[in-house]
């Protein structure tokens, strides 16, 4: 099958990006280099094409009720113009996907899902929608392009390009407006890097206008286009889970440290609630932990060893450009999950020492 291309594809080619296949999309892996792009975001600002993400609209008088059943988080706690991170679970408590819910009105929500899971999520939501006559689900993925402007200088750059008071958009809130004259954009103060910043949903027709305006306004700040390589190092330092690596249908949100989006005491009988309650009352057998690995870089699927025995596996690992340490996430039995716990990772047949540390690995200093 031919790879799908985002509306920014031609701009990436013009910028000399190295492109890779990412779940069926031809996406930039890197522009100037992962370390350089990572530093730009941590120290100033970077611009990402995240148009591969999927968008589903849930509308209707029972939209909120339907989402309360589908999502583990308490969607009823949101106000208009707010965004919320949550997961959708299987009845077993395994994770279907992690996603953001945007509330436009009590009867109008947008959910933004992982590119690789778009069809699966659409099928899941349609099949498990408890109120099909009052909550209408449509796939709007083709209608939206998306960029992420991330870094401490995102606000001053975007401020001059929008037709509303940007400072008034708080963290995990959004507003509708024009960006660089392109109307009908959703500007959300969210992100996947650990920095302040915005994710902007826009019409594909406005892609070049918005991208070029952001790059031009960002020039005095040394803005760089950023690819998927640095997106991964940035999110891992901030300990944001990546679906398919750190979480999937075999892991529960409680094990993954996502208990904060798993509202076991909300009144709605959400999918997975019983299994997750049982898991909580019986005690978790394993936890996703952060590790610092000595001298070598752990990679996904490598075994975690304690006292000569395999006790778990690595789900993500990289060199942390901000900390100059090798960081990793992995599942280990609960008694080994406390900070300071000493482990080893089998890296291509040789053991590297590792230590469990508190996460996030990186926290922004402002």
């Amino acid at each position: 099958m031919r790879l799908m291309r985002t509306p920014f594809y031609q701009l990436h080619v013009e910028a000399g990006a190295r492109l890779v296949d990412f779940s069926g999309w031809e996406m930039p892996l890197q522009f100037s280099g992962i370390l350089d792009e990572h530093r730009a975001v941590r120290e100033s600002v970077g611009l990402f094409d995240v148009s591969h993400m999927g968008e589903l609209r849930v509308k209707g008088p029972r939209a909120l009720d339907a989402l309360q059943v589908l999502m583990t988080n308490d969607v009823s706690a949101m106000v208009d113009g707010q965004a919320q991170y949550t997961v959708m679970c299987l009845p077993s408590g395994g994770i279907v996907d992690d996603l953001l819910v945007y509330r436009f009105a009590e009867d109008d929500f947008l959910i933004c899902v992982n590119a690789a899971n778009r069809q699966k999520d659409l099928d899941w939501v349609l099949e498990h929608n408890p109120f099909p006559k009052g909550a209408f689900v449509t796939d709007e993925s083709a209608r939206w392009a998306q960029v992420a402007l991330q870094g401490r200088n995102a606000l001053p750059i975007l401020k001059g390009l929008v037709d509303f008071p940007l400072e008034q958009v708080g963290t995990y809130h959004f507003t509708l407006g024009a960006v660089a004259g392109v109307t009908g954009c959703i500007v959300a103060r969210t992100g996947y890097t650990g920095e302040d910043g915005y994710e902007i949903f826009l019409s594909p027709a406005g892609a070049r206008t918005v991208w070029e305006a952001l790059m031009a306004a960002g020039e005095p700040y040394g803005i760089k286009p950023v690819g998927l390589g640095a997106r991964d190092t940035l999110r891992l330092e901030s300990r944001y889970c990546l679906y398919g690596n750190d979480i999937d249908h075999t892991t529960s949100p409680l094990e993954a440290g996502l208990g904060w989006v798993t509202k076991l005491d909300k009144t709605a009988p959400f999918i997975g609630k019983d299994a997750l309650r049982a898991q909580k009352s019986q005690g978790l057998s394993r936890r996703l932990v952060g590790m610092v690995v000595e001298r070598r870089i752990a990679r996904p699927h490598q075994d975690i060893i304690a006292n000569g025995r395999k006790v778990g596996h690595v789900t993500s690992g990289t060199r942390s450009p901000s900390l100059d340490l090798n960081i990793a996430l992995g599942y280990v039995p609960r008694p080994l999950a406390r900070p300071g716990s000493r482990l080893q990772v089998d890296i291509r047949g040789r053991l590297a020492n590792a230590q469990v540390v508190r996460t996030p690995f990186y926290r922004r200093p402002y």
Partner: protein, 130 residues
């Protein structure tokens, strides 16, 4: 992308520069570009070891990937590039100069003739890249 004409090249994207009966070995511009930012180099052989053609002599790790370095020639390993310790980016910035990896005393200089010349390697890379 650079393909210095005075070097010989392997199919695994190592270059070889002959200096008398010694060979200096590194990763090609194409290899460093494919790997991206190099952050670790781990030598599998130490000076004094005898290495054969195809032996894994080092592991080069970037943020995104890890790649083994195969010795394109055989002989006694004389030296590894210790200057790269803490300055691994030289492999990216200066692959044919400061980014060299190994120095080997050639046991059979004819092995070098089996490697590609610059124009053959350039064509080989173009084919791989397409």
């Amino acid at each position: 992308m650079q393909f210095p004409p005075e070097l010989r090249y392997s199919q695994e994207h190592e270059w070889v520069r002959v200096e008398g009966d010694e060979a200096v070995i590194g990763l090609t511009d194409f290899a460093q570009h494919s790997l991206g930012d190099v952050v670790y180099i781990e030598y599998r052989s130490q000076p004094g070891d005898h290495v054969a053609v195809g032996d894994v002599v080092a592991e080069v790790e970037s943020v995104k990937a890890v790649s083994e370095v195969f010795s394109p020639v055989g002989g006694e390993l004389l030296d590894t590039n210790e200057d790269l310790d803490g300055a691994e980016e030289l492999v990216n910035q200066d692959p044919y100069g400061g980014g060299w990896l190994l120095r080997i005393r050639l046991s059979d200089p004819a092995q070098v003739d089996a490697l590609m010349d610059a124009s053959t390697y350039q064509a080989f890379v173009a084919e791989q890249d397409s």
